[in-house]
């Protein structure tokens, strides 16, 4: 199914009053460029498109809603209308869907209406067409609406935007939600079981853990929400600080070298910590006494020929007609055998004891004593090395800061502050999601002492199992756990299969976009997109390569899902040099069915001429405010009224020549 945007209309909002259409001859165009000078409202329009597609406006507060009010008109109301066309030749589907947002700036509210069925007309509320139910949510829309640092976020290590997009587009995030529903349902069933005092107490303890789990999930959600704007300002500040650093070429390359050294030392420290931790867990490291006791235990077990014969052996014999000595069994001797078989250990217990004996055999205190100090000595050395290299990075940064202007120093300080806040929140998030710890110990203490969600979940599971045994609902509990395991297995397996498939599809698209012989491909899709070539990893590509990777991934995802949305991109080629713009422009119409790019005049060089589709399949729209400062643009507008739409506060021109010749007067003056 193809989903296209046929156009939008806006009135009374902080973006100009406009009517934009991407239709030609009644059909949506494949390539659509909307040229808008800075400050005309590109971001606002993109935000409104996202809001119309996801109903996110229903969560906006009055302040946020009033921020959309036109500063010049100060009208009491505003409106945004987005029109989609759904087309599926297999289903003979050709449908128009309209989302209308009516702003009331007096009450600070926004009401949505939808035209979903032309025979019914406009209906109150956001009525998502059934065909799109699974896709019109913020996470899916983020896949095809590119704004800010979306490109980098897909590729950057430590971000999970790529995996999250796949999970949301293929319903896997919903599968995760089913786990919660299953747990909620199970708890309400358990509470319905009649209980005595002891059971009620157990249920009370379990309820406390369940409530604590909810609280931790809320905290986690809170961290994630706080991280969104923080990551965004971090990305923005990082880019600006990087621009400052670009002016200090020698210092910058020195810093990069120091940072690479520091990162390597950090990796080695982490690996050294793991080795030392593993060593601590070895009981032979603890003391000579434990070593002696264990050796003595092994000796005694051998002396007593333990663990001996298993109970199962006697049970099996008792099922035969005769004993191994040839004597025929009567019922009395069979009963005797069965009764006494319980005095022997089971197969499982025997395996455990034999395992312990074998482990004792394989270790000796003297041998490990010699090795004991080594991991800790190495850890101390690695720690010292890391501190040294980290300190060198800090000093280099201080040096570069000192060489900056006071304004730049403010920016650098702000970047450091935001970096600290971001890392702090990320560490907290990491901690709350950590699963290290012993649930047998944690489960006995107060629930508030356990602040790791995976552990709390395990404790809840263990307590549910205990309670199920008391309540005689073990079968229900086991069925529930089996259902959860099935969902988890299915979800994980689907995700891995999709990642492999999307990696191959994206690479095949990428090959057609990048110049022949470019040594870059997607090595694998993990939480992020891992770039590299011939098995060697690469952190990021060039600006143009990153954009190509992001478009290849997004369009592959859309194609694979069977529902192809348009790619809507804010500043599609800003980061690209002219040759890269040309390369991308030539391939754009072949990688997606509809491209809508919001650009400024400086992005046209190299890009616009390379698009080169037949004019019937492209729209070149210039949109600017009707203000005295734009009179020189107004004077140049073509006389043909068919090509110009004039509203109270803006002009929309669809003439290709006007589009090509449109240059911001400020940049002309500065030249």
């Amino acid at each position: 199914m193809l989903v296209s945007i046929s156009g939008w209309e806006s009135t009374g909002l902080r973006c100009p009053d406009t009517k934009v259409s991407f239709l030609k001859g009644g059909n949506p165009c494949g390539i659509n460029l909307v040229q808008m000078p800075n400050g005309t409202g590109k971001s606002t329009i993109i935000e409104l498109i996202s809001a119309a597609l996801t109903n996110s406006a229903s969560n906006w507060d009055t302040r946020k809603i009033r921020e959309f009010r036109s500063k010049l008109q100060e009208s009491d109301s505003g409106q945004f209308i987005l029109t989609l066309l759904l087309n599926d030749s297999d289903q003979e589907l050709n449908k128009k869907v309209v989302f209308q947002m009516d702003f009331d700036f007096v009450s600070g509210t926004v009401n949505l209406s939808t035209l979903n069925d032309s025979t019914v007309g406009l209906e109150i509320g956001w009525r998502v067409p059934r065909e799109l139910t699974a896709f019109l949510n913020s996470k899916c829309v983020e896949v095809f609406v590119f704004k800010g640092d979306k490109v980098q976020n897909l590729i950057e290590y430590g971000r999970d935007d790529a995996e999250s997009s796949i999970k949301h587009f293929f319903g896997l995030s919903h599968v995760d939600e089913i786990h919660e529903i299953v747990e909620k349902d199970f708890m309400s069933r358990q509470e319905g079981v009649r209980t005595d005092k002891g059971q009620a107490r157990q249920q009370g303890v379990l309820n406390k853990w369940v409530e604590w789990h909810k609280e931790l999930e809320r905290t986690k959600h809170d961290y994630e929400e706080k991280l969104i704007p923080l990551r965004s300002s971090y990305d923005d500040l990082r880019a600006r600080v990087s621009d400052i650093m670009d002016g200090m070429i020698q210092n910058k390359s020195q810093l990069a070298e120091y940072e690479a050294d520091r990162d390597k030392a950090k990796e080695q420290l982490s690996s050294g910590s793991q080795t030392a931790f593993a060593a601590i867990q070895n009981p032979f490291f603890i003391s000579q006494n434990i070593n002696s006791s264990m050796t003595s235990l092994k000796r005694n077990l051998d002396k007593m020929k333990l663990p001996g014969t298993s109970g199962e052996f006697f049970k099996e014999i008792a099922e035969d007609d005769a004993c191994i000595c040839g004597r025929t069994f009567d019922q009395q001797s069979r009963d005797y055998l069965l009764e006494n078989s319980q005095s022997y250990l089971s197969d499982n217990h025997i395996a455990i004891i034999n395992g312990i004996k074998s482990d004792i055999d394989n270790h000796s205190y003297l041998a490990v004593e010699q090795e004991k100090e080594k991991p800790f000595e190495k850890l101390t050395m690695l720690q010292g090395d890391y501190y040294l290299k980290d300190d060198r990075v800090t000093r280099q940064k201080t040096l570069m800061r000192d060489e900056s202007t006071p304004m730049q120093q403010l920016l650098i300080d702000e970047f450091q502050e935001v970096t600290l806040q971001k890392e702090n929140l990320e560490n907290r998030l990491k901690y709350i999601q950590n699963e290290d710890g012993d649930i047998r110990i944690m489960g006995r203490g107060s629930h508030r002492d356990c602040k790791k969600i995976p552990l709390v979940k395990k404790i809840i599971k263990a307590k549910q199992e205990e309670l199920a045994q008391i309540n005689d609902t073990v079968q229900e509990f086991n069925a529930k756990e089996k259902f959860k395991r099935i969902l988890l297995l299915a979800s994980e397996s689907t995700l891995e299969k999709l990642k492999v498939e999307l990696c191959a599809q994206s690479n095949s698209k990428l090959k057609t976009i990048l110049p022949e012989g470019t040594p870059l491909e997607i090595l694998e899709i993990k939480e992020h997109i891992q770039l590299g070539f011939n098995g060697k990893k690469q952190h990021l590509g060039s600006g143009g390569q990153n954009v190509s990777v992001a478009y290849s991934f997004a369009t592959s995802l859309l194609e694979r899902s069977g529902v192809q949305f348009p790619l809507i991109v804010d500043h599609p080629v800003t980061a690209l040099q002219e040759s890269a713009r040309r390369g991308l422009g030539q391939k754009l119409s072949s990688i997606c069915h509809q491209f809508i790019g919001f650009i400024i005049d400086t992005e046209k060089a190299g890009f616009v001429d390379s698009l080169n589709p037949v004019d019937e399949q492209a729209t070149y729209i210039t949109l600017f405010r009707n203000i005295p400062g734009n009179q020189h643009f107004i004077d140049l507008l073509p006389d043909d009224n068919q090509l110009v739409f004039k509203s109270e506060n803006a002009y929309v021109c669809t003439d290709k020549n006007f589009f090509k010749n449109f240059h911001d007067v400020e940049s002309d003056l500065s030249e």
Partner: protein
């Protein structure tokens, strides 16, 4: 005319599953792995209904119960 193609709930779900074949196959595989192949149609149906927002709260418990019954077999 347009609605005719999507008027039936079954049709819509069928359409959706065509999009999400990997997930339904993985559910079948997971059920087989857990020794409960008989439960896979019901689980697929529940996931379909939930994803397409067609599983009302009031029907969740009974839908889960029928899956548990199959898993207990």
């Amino acid at each position: 005319m347009v609605e005719g193609n999507f008027s039936s709930k079954e049709n819509y779900i069928g359409e959706f599953m065509k999009l999400d074949k990997t997930l339904s196959e993985s559910i079948q595989e997971a059920c087989a792995q857990e020794g409960a192949p008989q439960a896979s149609p019901a689980i697929i149906r529940l996931v379909e209904r939930y994803i397409s927002n067609e599983l009302p709260d009031s029907e969740r418990s009974s839908a889960l119960q029928s899956i548990y019954n199959l898993l207990k077999e």
